[in-house]
């Protein structure tokens, strides 16, 4: 279903004096494509590197240190067919610093960081080289390589097959003009949300970190749709490493805005997110077949991912055991279900102390037009029944098993 992301979610404020610094998070949303992910990777490097006001690395580091070691980081998050470019900055609570104008200075610097990057041929070529190295570095990690390859196997028509960190072939074709156009037409025009959390008044937060950014308030069409794709034949590839990577993708047919969303989330937790989960107990603890095994719910695409590293000789046994554990969810253990509820509720409460978790939770609910309330969410989780979980799991379908055989494993 296509929903409109609301303009009134542009500014979110949370007052607290528990942290030593004030955190500002800027989220810009746009559609996923190989071009956009690659351009975002380049732009993020350039935003962090230098800008028009501080045109050298030395000046950039100097101003950050002058602002009491203020931080600036960026990253990307996928939301179905859309992605978010997130920028986060932390600045010391002025009560710990010897500068009453610290926030004003930081605000001015933050605007320069986010709106005036130094986009020239020199910075572009540097960014291109660094992004290339970073993408190849990921491919040199068997665990990361297996995940990228598993998603790619879903086919070019699936958005989830696109690596959010960028695409090597697209990178080689990208020019400085492409980055400049992306910055002007996509990044600056994107639907933007600003979060300010810390020991600051709402008025000051808005004046310093929202009004100064000239954010274009507009509606953004957001689609939340579970992946609808037929089962794909298993893929087996190999690499000269010491362990085999096994990834199983399941189509759950339940995405974030589905009535069975919370039941699905609990099912995935019981399957492979707890020390008592089915996969952990049956495959690691009882049979010593792996060190790490877990399941992950990719909620906006309605996918469940299962991932482990094993010996090559155990591939068939582990595949069979995984299937058995997924099947066991249809008669889910009530005690384990309650443990999953307890742990997910614990994580929701913990988001009060972990700012980026809070931003993630709040933002996800805003996207599906449900006001985020941790109290209500906790109540809803507590009300999920065994029947709800069984109903959710009965919608699951096999999608793909990907194996990256370790030739020395």
């Amino acid at each position: 279903m296509v929903k409109q992301t609301q303009a009134n979610e542009n500014f979110v404020f949370k007052a607290t004096d528990k942290f030593k610094d004030i955190t500002i998070v800027l989220r810009r949303m746009f559609s996923i494509s190989k071009q956009n992910t690659t351009l975002a990777a380049l732009l993020m490097y350039m935003l962090e590197d230098r800008n028009e006001k501080y045109p050298t690395k030395k000046e950039m580091l100097s101003i950050k240190d002058h602002l009491y070691g203020t931080t600036f980081s960026s990253g990307v998050v996928g939301y179905g067919k859309n992605m978010v470019l997130q920028i986060a900055s932390k600045v010391m609570d002025p009560q710990f610093a010897d500068d009453s104008k610290l926030l004003e200075k930081h605000s001015e610097w933050f605007v320069n960081m986010t709106h005036y990057p130094l986009l020239n041929q020199e910075t572009f070529l540097e960014a291109k080289a660094q992004v290339r190295s970073s993408l190849i570095r990921d491919l040199d990690q068997p665990s990361k390589l297996a995940q990228i390859k598993a998603f790619e196997a879903l086919g070019e028509d699936s958005v989830i097959a696109i690596n959010l960190d960028g695409d090597l072939n697209t990178l080689e074709e990208t020019t400085l003009q492409d980055v400049q156009k992306f910055f002007k037409d996509v990044y600056l025009q994107a639907h933007t949300s600003v979060y300010v959390i810390g020991n600051i008044t709402k008025e000051d937060a808005k004046a310093l970190y929202y009004d100064t950014l000239n954010i274009k308030e507009h509606f953004y069409p957001f689609e939340c749709e579970a992946l609808a794709k037929e089962k794909i034949e298993d893929v087996v590839e190999s690499k000269d490493t010491t362990q085999t990577q096994l990834i199983k993708l399941l189509k759950t047919n339940v995405s974030m805005d589905h009535p069975l969303y919370l039941a699905n989330r609990l099912a995935v937790a019981v399957l492979g997110q707890l020390p008592t989960s089915y996969l952990f107990v049956e495959i690691r603890e009882k049979r010593s077949l792996c060190y790490s095994i877990y399941s992950q719910y990719i909620a906006f695409d309605g996918l469940c991912l299962i991932k482990t590293g094993i010996d090559t000789s155990n591939i068939d046994e582990v595949k069979e055991l995984i299937n058995q554990q997924v099947g066991a969810l249809l008669d889910i253990d009530e005690d384990l279900l309650n443990q999953a509820k307890t742990m997910i509720i614990n994580a929701i409460k913990n988001a009060e102390d972990e700012l980026l978790s809070y931003v993630n939770l709040h933002y996800s609910y805003a996207l599906i037009q449900q006001p985020f309330s941790s109290e209500q969410l906790i109540k809803d989780i507590q009300q999920v029944s065994k029947l709800d979980v069984v109903q959710a799991v009965s919608l699951w379908e096999e999608l793909l098993t990907y194996v990256l055989k370790g030739e020395q494993a």
Partner: protein, 420 residues
């Protein structure tokens, strides 16, 4: 209870139980999350000790193996018990310590009691030891496929020939296979006596109530005999340096480390901390964006965003390590040696870095789990986290000059490169 004075006005107290376990409690009333850790100074480097003045050698990887085994309890699935009360439990083994910890937003007493139960007794069967071997061997295989993990493992194995830094924290597949049930029981008896444990609690609960809970636990009154055990000091001569080594992996980009030993150590731990920070300041003022040449090195492809350096100084070892990517090992080595000749003591850069690091240390107090980990780490070394801040604040230009004069120029170079 003693109050621990600190520059950040954090409410921290400490006390010692009847069994001689050190306990540190940090009050964080405004946080909903709480973190608790119990640690012992038994880590990957603990492979030779003096027990009742006799040398005793332990298998590499023993501390890490025992960490795995403490989750095996006769009471049943202890991890499941933590989960039932809404606590995330885990553990880690570093070169210097083993730490068991949990975090929770739920009532503290039950998981805290479970954590104390875990370290208070060991109840492992021969069968569970064999089962755990399989899991640990898979863990070692997992790290062996990671290029950077393999590079670091090989870097230390090459730099050190005698010192236990040559061993991986988890040991080798062979040493893990050789560890017996008896080795584990003996190691537990040696290193988990309450007098060797430190417990750190970061919580919103009343500190007096927490103290009462701890004192009511058998771990606080355990009356077993304390072993006379001391870590053995191993002096590495580094006669094998300079040296260079290449290893092949299925990678597209090569990675290189250039390591230099530090052979002159300060005599006290506080002085070593200061020595370590003095070297960090020297290196940061040259090998970071503060240096005008940094941009040129990037443009020339000598360094990239992965480039990094690290300094580590302990009682009987020390080294400086540089990490490169996409450069030949000979070029990396020449670059380090050339640049070390150019190190200068830059007063302005020094003040800039002091400011950054002092405020960065304050940020540890933003998260209960970070507070717990840092306080526990320094406490297990018989230091205080606040000694780090003192070390940075008290650094002088003379300290930097001395650190510069003591830097060695013998290198060990290791490269991970693609197979032909």
């Amino acid at each position: 209870m003693n109050i621990i004075d600190n520059p950040y006005n954090e409410k921290i107290v400490e006390f010692t139980t009847q069994s001689n376990m050190r306990v540190i409690v940090v009050s964080k009333k405004s946080f909903v999350n709480q973190a608790v850790g119990i640690g012992t100074a038994f880590g990957g480097l603990t492979t030779s000790v003096l027990l009742n003045q006799q040398e005793k050698h332990l298998q590499p990887g023993l501390a890490h193996f025992l960490e795995h085994q403490l989750f095996e309890s006769e009471l049943g699935n202890i991890m499941g018990e933590f989960t039932k009360c809404g606590a995330n439990v885990n553990a880690f083994t570093s070169y210097h310590e083993t730490v068991y910890y949990f975090s929770t937003t739920n009532p503290l007493k039950k998981p805290m009691t479970l954590l104390m139960d875990m370290v208070n007794d060991v109840s492992i069967s021969e069968a569970s030891t064999q089962k755990e071997k399989g899991i640990i061997l898979q863990e070692l295989s997992m790290y062996d496929q990671m290029p950077e993990a393999m590079l670091l493992k090989q870097t230390f194995a090459n730099l050190y020939r005698e010192h236990p830094m040559k061993n991986d924290i988890g040991g080798s597949k062979e040493s893990v296979q050789n560890i017996t049930h008896d080795d584990l029981i003996q190691a537990y008896n040696l290193f988990y006596h309450p007098s060797q444990l430190t417990m750190v609690i970061v919580s919103f609960e009343d500190v007096n109530v927490i103290k009462q809970w701890i004192e009511n636990h058998p771990l606080a009154s355990k009356n077993t005999q304390k072993m006379d055990i001391k870590p053995m000091v191993v002096n590495e001569t580094f006669d094998h340096l300079p040296q260079s080594f290449s290893m092949n992996m299925d990678v597209s980009q090569n990675k290189v480390t250039v390591a230099l030993p530090i052979t002159s150590f300060a005599s006290t731990s506080k002085a070593r901390l200061k020595q370590q920070w003095a070297i960090k300041v020297l290196l940061e003022s040259h090998f970071s964006e503060i240096n005008d040449d940094y941009q040129q090195w990037m443009d020339q492809g000598i360094i990239n965003e992965l480039f990094d350096y690290d300094v580590d100084i302990e009682q009987d070892y020390g080294h400086v390590l540089f990490l490169f990517e996409n450069i030949k090992k000979e070029e990396a080595n020449n670059f380090v040696l050339e640049q070390l000749q150019k190190l200068t003591v830059n007063k302005q850069a020094f003040e800039q870095m002091k400011r950054r690091w002092i405020f960065s240390s304050l940020r540890v107090f933003n998260r209960p789990s970070s507070i717990m980990t840092q306080l526990l780490h320094y406490s297990l070394k018989n230091d205080s986290y606040f000694d780090v801040i003192d070390a940075i604040e008290s650094l002088t230009l003379e300290d930097l000059q001395q650190a510069k004069d003591n830097l060695e120029t013998l290198t060990s170079v290791v490269e991970v490169t693609k197979k032909n």
